[in-house]
Amino acid sequence: MKVIAMSALALVLASATAMAHPHVFLESRIELSMDDHSLNHVLVEWRFDAGFTAMVRLDFDADRDGRLDPTEVAAVEDGAFRNLRNYDYFTRVRLDGREVAIRDATDFRASLEDGALVYRFRLPVAARFSREAAVAQFDDTYYTAIALTPDAGVSGAPDAAVELRRDSRTAIRYAPADSGSATTYPDEVVVRR
């Protein structure tokens, strides 16, 4: 019976769970706009992989000139961005350890730069904190793999200490066998006063 149970377990572990796996890859650079007491907003810049870039080009670069004019940007926002409000724009903001609600993005822009699709937008926060602000970006559904760049910026708080750290409390398991390499953790930008 032990052998049977072990074989069944091996079978289960060997067969992957059917979670969504990444189909879109993006690099994210974020900048936190602060003042003495508050985090005012987060500026986000996403640079997409060649595949998603190509699909957006096919769908929205109507005149095929390799650029996105204002009309085309509005179409991109409507067709390939607006729904992300349901996903909190893949963003989690914690102030002094407390998670704050993500509001609708503003100032959306899209462009094609060096062959890559780039989104830029602003996430309003306007909430006070005393010690630490932490911003992470990840897709819970794992459709999109997001890499935060290490050069996060902070404006309005010249003395603040900024670091990129691994959030080891938020785990995602994405490979068939639950080995160490199959469990990963998102990075977050942390700003301390």
């Binding site: 052998v3 079978l11 992989d49 459709y143």
Partner: protein, 305 residues
């Protein structure tokens, strides 16, 4: 029977503990199908390959045959890496071949067909959306993907349910006692000379291929979009074949994992007739239960969404 049902329940509970749908967050019209506490990490190798292939496709006209060959080769490597992650119906194939013994040729053929259909479906949807419908590639592929996923899950549900019911009936009809008095795993027959084993049929293999491969591979969709955007749409078929070949390697391995688990248990118990019979029933019913759980979990995701 009680132990079998407990095992099937545990497998199902484990499977239901994670979410399933791969809805496109950018183009959809709703929230995530299920909340989880997970974060995402970047499989750097996958992205690196993806962008490298994108560069080769963009320069395919100047790069000639060498660039094209390298793009196809890297697409195969991408297919392997991509399929190693979650999805691609590995659960379904492993469950199917754990439930029903099959020849090596059948396993390889079915798994290969699943991988090829997965890529062909993506090619059909992408080219169709762009050249025939003249519509949005993002929206069309997402919508078609949802419909085809629903169809494939329903087929998987029917297939798993059929195998499960047959297994339960056979178990009740031929093994009323606590232990079987004869050995008939590993293709042997019982004392009465009857062959009790359920093997795969052409019809059920076809259903497996549809259930496993009908959903278009988003990786292939992206690569074909790259080729269209670069003005070399024909190259899309080659990279799709490359990705499918890579996917096939992993999918075939998953199918053999199912078969191997059953065979290993049977070999270990070959001298213990009662345990061997129980093992055969556990794998027949448990494998079907795995398929059923997979399909139900996917359909539950549709209901939630």
């Amino acid at each position: 029977m009680k132990r079998i049902l407990i095992l099937a329940f545990l497998l199902s509970a484990w499977l239901f503990s994670t979410d399933i749908l791969a809805a496109n967050p950018f183009t959809g019209s709703g929230a995530p199908a299920a909340e989880s506490s997970g974060g995402a990490a970047v499989p750097e190798a996958q992205r690196g390959l993806f962008d490298r292939i994108g560069g080769l496709i963009a320069g395919a006209r100047e790069g000639g045959v060498a660039a094209t060959a390298l793009a196809v080769l890297l697409a195969g490597a991408y297919g392997v890496l991509h399929a190693l992650g979650p999805g691609h119906r590995k659960t379904l194939l492993a469950g199917y071949f754990a439930a029903q013994p099959a020849s090596v040729a059948t396993i390889v053929g079915a798994a290969l067909a699943v991988a090829l259909l997965h890529g062909a479906s993506a090619a059909a949807v992408t080219y169709g959306a762009y050249y025939l419908l003249r519509g949005s590639v993002l929206a069309s592929t997402a919508q078609a993907g949802r419909v085809l996923e629903l169809i494939s899950l329903l087929v998987a549900l029917g297939l798993g349910a059929g195998i499960l019911v047959r297994g339960l009936r056979r178990s009740a009809a031929t093994h009323p006692g606590a232990a079987c008095c004869h050995v008939h795993a590993l293709g042997q027959t019982g004392d009465d000379g009857s062959a009790h084993r359920r093997t795969t049929s052409a019809r059920s293999s076809l259903a497996l291929v549809i259930a496993g491969g009908l959903v278009p591979c988003p990786g292939v969709v992206s690569m074909i979009a790259m080729t269209i955007a670069a003005g070399v749409p024909g190259l899309g078929l080659l990279v799709a074949a490359g990705v499918s070949s890579g996917t096939a390697i992993v999918v075939i391995a998953a199918a053999f994992a199912g078969r191997g688990a059953r065979a290993a248990a049977e070999r270990a118990l070959v001298r213990r007739a009662g345990a061997l019979a129980l093992a055969a029933r556990v794998f027949s019913i448990g494998g079907a239960g795995l398929m059923l759980a997979f399909a139900l979990r996917g359909l539950a995701g549709f209901v939630v969404a």
